[in-house]
């Protein structure tokens, strides 16, 4: 069981932030294209950072607590997942903070603030 520790920590991060999407209703998971597009560059850059750090010997991973599935460069899969999980948690947090902050400052119980519908016309004026 010990070897799943790192994996379980990451799973816990996803689990704990899931209510932000499901209960509070932020739309991060539900905007998959924007989500993926936001993750790609940081994932590549910071994984490269990580890989360089591992190669340089700045840090390494305790065999006891990782599954042992490594990618080239002695990179545990958990560490790869880390650079997806943490950013996703951060995005969920940010959207939740924005939503809650907006709700507080608006002080009204309006569920959704839309773009001021002009006489019931919803999205009809394009490039006015």
């Amino acid at each position: 069981m010990d070897r799943y520790q790192y994996l379980l920590v990451l799973a816990a991060c996803l689990l704990i932030t899931l209510p932000l999407e499901v209960v509070i209703g932020v739309r991060v998971w539900r905007r998959p294209r924007r989500l993926v597009a936001s993750l790609v560059a940081p994932f590549v850059l910071f994984l490269a950072f990580d890989l360089a750090a591992i190669t340089a010997g700045y840090w390494r991973f305790n065999h006891r607590y990782v599954t042992g599935v490594d990618l080239p460069g002695r990179l545990p899969v958990e560490e790869v997942a880390f650079f997806l999980v943490i950013p996703i948690c951060a995005l969920l947090t940010y959207e939740a903070v924005r939503r809650l902050g907006g709700a507080l400052s608006a002080r009204s119980a309006r569920p959704e603030r839309t773009v001021r519908p002009a006489r019931g016309a919803k999205q009809t004026h394009q490039g006015a």
């Binding site: 520790q5 991060c13 924007r34 840090w59 950013p87 940010y94 902050g101 907006g102 773009v115």
Partner: protein, 136 residues
Amino acid sequence: MYLLWSLVAVAVVVGLELVWLRTGLFRQGSFWVTIAVAWAFQIPVDGWLTKLSAPIVIYDEHDLSGLRFPWDIPIEDFVFSFALVTMVLLIWVALGRAAPAAGSSGGTDGVADAGRGRDAGAAGAGGAGGAGGAGG
């Protein structure tokens, strides 16, 4: 060196915003609250990963600044996480800003992102908020 390179990462990410993306994220209270929340949750998570009694990640102690706080977390980790989180948020916000016009088939993306106007307000939310008040 980890500290140095983490600071470089922060500089690069901040530069990305100031020079190129210009999302205004750093002027949003929501951003700084998010950073505070992220750091707060980093304490149990990263704390578990780096605890010296049973570390999952083992650092080269000679390379670290030696400051481990709170718990056994190398302070460098907080610099690193700031860079990582900030970069992701910057791109997310930048993409949200660009999205609404595109009349893609999905539609839902654009609608949700139309709330963007709130960003401008969010920055100065503190002062302007109560002006019209007393409606209830």
